[in-house]
């Protein structure tokens, strides 16, 4: 997969969909392509953040020790996945352990470059904020529906 394909693929990620292509190109330029074999740990929960990984092909397992959850993410030419994005944005340690389930082709986004690009372009950062907000909604953290479900449960308990 060549540079120009990567630019196109990461542009389809919800997180980066609003970012203009010239910035995506720069981000890809500064990022590294890495491969992992099945069973390789891509990063561990609590480790210092070294950038988010865009899974270009293959399947990874995302495990959070806090709630014991396992989520599988898959990337292919049809649509890539991203892991470690919130750690990259917050510049915080990784929040989950990600393990390769198959052969993995990944692009490790350069988090410092990402920050610089966002800082210089308010429009892009605004779109990223929106994308993140939408994602939080999707995860049910602040979604109104989830909140009313929660209240229903409390009412039932009484």
């Amino acid at each position: 997969m060549l540079f120009r394909d990567e630019v196109e693929l990461i542009g389809k990620l919800p997180l980066l969909s609003g970012v203009d292509p010239s910035r995506l190109r720069m981000l890809c330029f500064a990022s590294d392509r890495e491969t992992f074999a099945p069973g390789d740990v891509i990063f561990r929960e609590g480790e210092a953040n070294e950038g988010a990984y865009v899974i270009l092909s293959g399947e990874v397992d995302v495990h959070k020790a806090s709630d014991g959850s396992h989520v599988i993410k898959r990337g292919s030419e049809a649509g890539v996945a991203i892991v470690g994005q919130s750690s990259m944005i917050e510049d915080a340690p990784y929040a989950a352990t990600v393990t390769a389930r198959t052969e993995i082709e990944a692009l490790r986004l350069n988090s410092r470059c990402f920050m610089k690009l966002m800082a210089s372009c308010p429009k892009s950062s605004e779109k990223i904020m929106r994308a993140l907000g939408a994602q939080l909604n999707a995860n049910g953290v602040i979604s109104p529906g989830a909140a009313s479900d929660y209240f229903d449960q409390i009412r039932k308990a009484h």
């Binding site: 190109r25 992992f36 350069n110 210089s120």
Partner: protein
């Protein structure tokens, strides 16, 4: 140190001063004779006095004197010479006197210089010695930069002055008096005139110069403060940047420089004014001589020879007078500098002076009791940090101090480390007051390390062994013969003794092998270091430092051979882990895809790419070979596309110049030139491009690595072409290029590459996730396995790593490494109690846990079973200690 400069100088240079004075006195004889000669030459042979009759002769070298009471005494009648002979003899005598005077001057100046340098050496040593003996509390008021400027610069003039302190007034006074006497002998009233003018000069000028002294003192103090501030900025540079304090510092420096400027300018104004007056006064006297002396000659009351002699003698007078005045100025200035410095180096509570070389070190009993009895410690501000605190620690006990630094655990640790002193109460070891023990015993009793151990510039080894350097080596062998028997060496030590410096030999072996642990004795140094490095988990890091080093053929064969053997071992190790692709080996017939095109062509290491690569690329042979292989057009096209894509990427984000840091193969300054080149040419237009454009793009193509940039510019056909060209290059390379590049050969050690590169003998495949980490682990694993069978290789490799410089203050290594070296420094030295003051603060908890375990385990297994007192920041480790003392508000709980 004597507060009076002259007493200090006299005390240490008496003999030499007297010797110089004697030489000066002897030198007066030819000096006076040289005055008399011109008069004799003019009067006798030239004007013909005594040669009135033809064939008349005069005695030369007539040694007859008229002694009081004995009448005339004749030693020698002299040679009888005629007029021309007399002229020749007197002229030669004059020349001889000039030479003799010059030789005297040379001797006197050399001796004075040596005397001054000895004294300067003595006083500088004395000052540093005092710094080493000051109590800790003293350093709270001292700025490092100010002290070093006092030792270094402020006393510099003292060396020059010391030689002149007594000799100069004697010599110049003598000269001035001689000249004056001579004038008086020639003519009384002319003498009175000269004396009167000299008196004006001597009385008025120093008075005017007094203001200069005051200004000079201010200049000294302000310059010292400036030095202090500059040192402070350098020491705190990180904090300055972290707080954007640069401009504030600039303002401070500007105001200081303004003040220094105004002082110095004022000084110049006054100095040159004084100079002007001084010159004026000394020029008035010759005016009087010409006017009055001329009148006397015309009226025949003075002969011409006398007048010439008077004027000649007078020429010698203002010089000595002016220098005497200068001497007086230097005296006042030096005296002031000396007093200013010396008063800053006084302290009542100074420690004992240094011991003699070879003096036996006393030892403590093997298992003393450490007792803290009713100790109160107060801060400088008067706050009570430790309140009537008592604690008894029997030998071999391990005590955890908890309660946080604010509670007082850290204060107790600092007290035991003798950083703080008790305002009440006593700390005793085996009944002796810890604060009265000589330092050698106090450190034997208690080994201390804090959270930020200091690093000295030097190697890691130097820093680890710092605590062992107690044994002052003799400069002689046991039998009294000098250790290094050379003339230079003997001179060196003789001078050292003359300057009052102790005979401490920095090149000797200072390590106190009795204090070394766990393996004592001279053979135990390396094994002990290896053990403590293991305990503090530093050995692998030291190995990594060694691996980054390059060794020359002079380093012996053990490392190169061992490393060569590891090449295959590493491959096997990697393939056993199914990571065979992690390192791509250099194969003569294969294109290494992780390597640049340039490196693939060169297929070797240069050792100094910055310098040597351009020399190779510029060589006509290189261009010729590229062209003969048809590679120039191909590389031109690749370079063209590479530049195009790169410029497009960066032009797209021109509003964010910070991202240029990720552009490594082109500088921002070069970008416009590339733009122009691209505009002038097309990708397939190598033929029609100018030489400059071709060179620019082909050189850019050399930097291309397909997997790194992923622009799809490199295909298999071009790769094969590069390999073919590589063979051509190496087959026909001229000698001068061959010397610059060391070709990759699987069976040969590359002296231009690091040990690591030699083991890998290939390029790390960055396509693998965490490639570097995995390679490092693999290399360390195969190395450690190899060390088991080859301890010599381990020792050499460790030696190489330990020889790495830590930089000033340890800035070249990480904070974690500094902490670990501090711990290693503590653990390698024998002590009865070990005090660790929050030594692991801020480290990752899992690492802290391991280090606490390792260190306690290590100390527990030492034969003397030392006690441990550890002020902990993390109380979870407390249960590993035999006792826990919680200190809150300065009390034990």
């Amino acid at each position: 140190m004597d507060p009076k400069l002259f007493r200090y100088i006299w005390a240490y240079t008496r003999r030499e001063q007297i010797a110089i004075m004697l030489i000066v006195l002897v030198s007066m004889i030819p000096y006076y004779m040289a005055f008399d000669l011109p008069k004799a030459i003019v009067n006798q042979p030239i004007q013909g006095h005594g040669f009135e009759t033809p064939g008349a002769t005069l005695p030369f070298l007539d040694l007859s004197f008229s002694l009081p009471g004995l009448g005339p005494v004749t030693f020698f009648d002299g040679f009888q010479l005629d007029r021309l002979e007399t002229l020749a003899a007197l002229s030669v005598a004059f020349l001889a006197m000039v030479i003799v005077n010059g030789l005297f001057k040379l001797t006197i100046n050399t001796r004075k210089g040596r005397l001054g340098e000895r004294l300067l050496r003595r006083i500088r040593y004395d000052l540093v010695d005092r710094i080493l003996r000051f109590p800790n509390a003293r350093f709270k008021q001292i700025k490092a930069g100010e002290v070093s400027s006092m030792v270094k610069d402020e006393l510099e003039p003292l060396g020059g002055f010391a030689g002149d302190a007594f000799v100069q007034p004697a010599l110049l006074g003598g000269q001035a008096l001689t000249a004056m006497l001579f004038i008086f002998v020639q003519h009384f009233w002319l003498g009175m005139m000269a004396a009167g003018m000299a008196a004006i000069q001597v009385l008025i000028i120093p008075r005017m110069r007094r203001a200069l002294i005051v200004l000079g003192r201010e200049r000294q103090v302000t310059a010292r403060e400036l030095a202090g501030r500059v040192a402070e900025i350098v020491d705190n540079i990180e904090t300055v940047h972290a707080n954007d304090g640069g401009n504030w510092e600039r303002a401070d420096i500007v105001s200081r420089l303004a003040r220094i400027f105004s002082i110095r300018y004022e000084l110049y104004q006054r100095k040159f004014m004084v100079k002007f007056l001084n010159n004026l006064i000394s020029q008035i006297t010759p005016f009087l001589f010409y006017a009055i002396g001329g009148y006397l000659t015309i009226t025949d009351r003075l002969n011409v020879g006398q007048l010439v002699a008077v004027i000649n003698a007078y020429k010698e007078l203002p010089g000595p007078l002016k220098e005497l005045i200068d001497w007086d100025l230097a005296r006042q200035d030096t005296q002031m500098r000396y007093e200013q410095v010396v008063e800053r180096f006084e302290d009542e509570n100074m420690a004992e002076p240094a011991p003699e070389p070879g003096e036996e070190l006393c030892t403590l009993p093997p298992a003393p009791v450490l007792e803290v009895a009713h100790v109160t410690v107060k801060s400088d501000m008067g706050a009570v940090l430790l309140n009537d605190f008592s604690l008894e620690i029997p030998p071999g006990r391990t005590v955890a101090l908890t309660g946080g630094s604010l509670g007082g655990s850290s204060v107790l640790a600092e007290l035991l480390g003798r950083i703080l002193t008790p305002s009440k109460g006593r700390v005793t070891v085996d009944g002796h007051d810890l604060f009265r023990l000589p330092e050698s015993l106090a450190t034997q009793a208690i080994g201390y390390v804090g959270a930020n151990p200091a690093m000295f510039s030097g190697t890691i080894l130097d820093n680890i062994c710092y605590g062992l350097r107690h044994r002052i080596p003799l400069i002689t062998h046991e039998d009294g013969s000098p250790r290094v028997d050379t003339n230079h060496n003997q001179w060196h030590w003789r001078e050292t003794a003359r300057a009052g410096n102790p005979l401490f030999d920095v090149d000797g072996d200072w390590i106190d092998y009795n204090a070394l642990q766990p393996v004592s004795g001279p053979e135990g140094l390396l094994p002990s270091i290896a053990t403590v490095l293991e305990v503090v988990e530093l050995s692998q890091e030291v190995l990594m430092l060694a691996l980054k080093e390059r060794i020359g053929p002079e380093a012996g064969t053990i490392l190169p051979e061992g490393v060569l053997a590891l090449r295959t071992v590493l491959r096997e190790h990697l393939s056993a882990q199914r990571l065979e692709g992690l390192v791509l080996p250099f194969e003569p017939d294969q294109f290494n895809i992780q390597t640049t095109i340039g490196e693939n062509l060169l297929f070797g290491v240069t050792g100094d790419p910055q310098n040597r690569l351009p020399r190779i690329v510029r060589h006509p042979f290189f261009a010729r070979t590229l062209i003969s292989q048809g590679l120039d057009a191909e590389l031109f096209a690749l370079g063209w596309n590479f530049a195009r894509i790169t410029l497009d990427v960066f032009n797209g984000v021109a509003d964010t110049p910070e991202v240029l840091q990720w552009l490594t193969y082109m500088t921002p300054e070069e970008m416009p030139a590339f733009e122009k080149t691209l505009a002038r040419t097309t990708a397939d237009g190598a033929e029609s491009a100018t030489l400059d454009d071709r060179v620019r793009l082909i050189r850019l193509a050399f930097a291309y690595v397909e997997p790194t940039y992923r622009f799809g510019l490199l295909d298999d056909r071009l790769r094969a072409q590069v390999v073919a060209c590589r063979h051509k290059l190496h087959a026909n390379m001229p000698e001068e290029l061959r010397a610059l590049v060391e070709r990759y050969e699987p069976e040969r050690y590359l002296f231009n590459a690091s040990l690591m590169e030699n083991i890998l003998f290939g390029k790390i495949n960055r396509r693998y996730g965490h490639a570097e980490e995995r390679v490092q682990q693999a290399v360390l694993a195969v190395l450690n396995r190899a060390f088991e069978t080859d301890p010599e290789m381990r020792d050499q490799m460790m030696g190489l790593g330990l020889a790495q410089e830590v930089g000033p203050g340890g800035r070249r290594i990480t904070r974690l490494q500094r902490s670990k070296i501090g711990l290693a420094r503590l653990l390698i030295r024998n002590a009865r109690f070990y005090v660790l003051n929050e030594a692991l603060a801020g480290l990752d908890p899992a690492l802290q846990q391991r280090l606490v375990n390792n260190i306690l385990e290590y100390l527990h297994h030492l034969p003397q079973k030392p006690g441990v007192i550890w002020a902990l920041t993390n109380t979870t480790f407390a249960r590993q200690f035999s006792e826990v003392v919680e200190i809150r508000d300065g009390h034990a709980h």
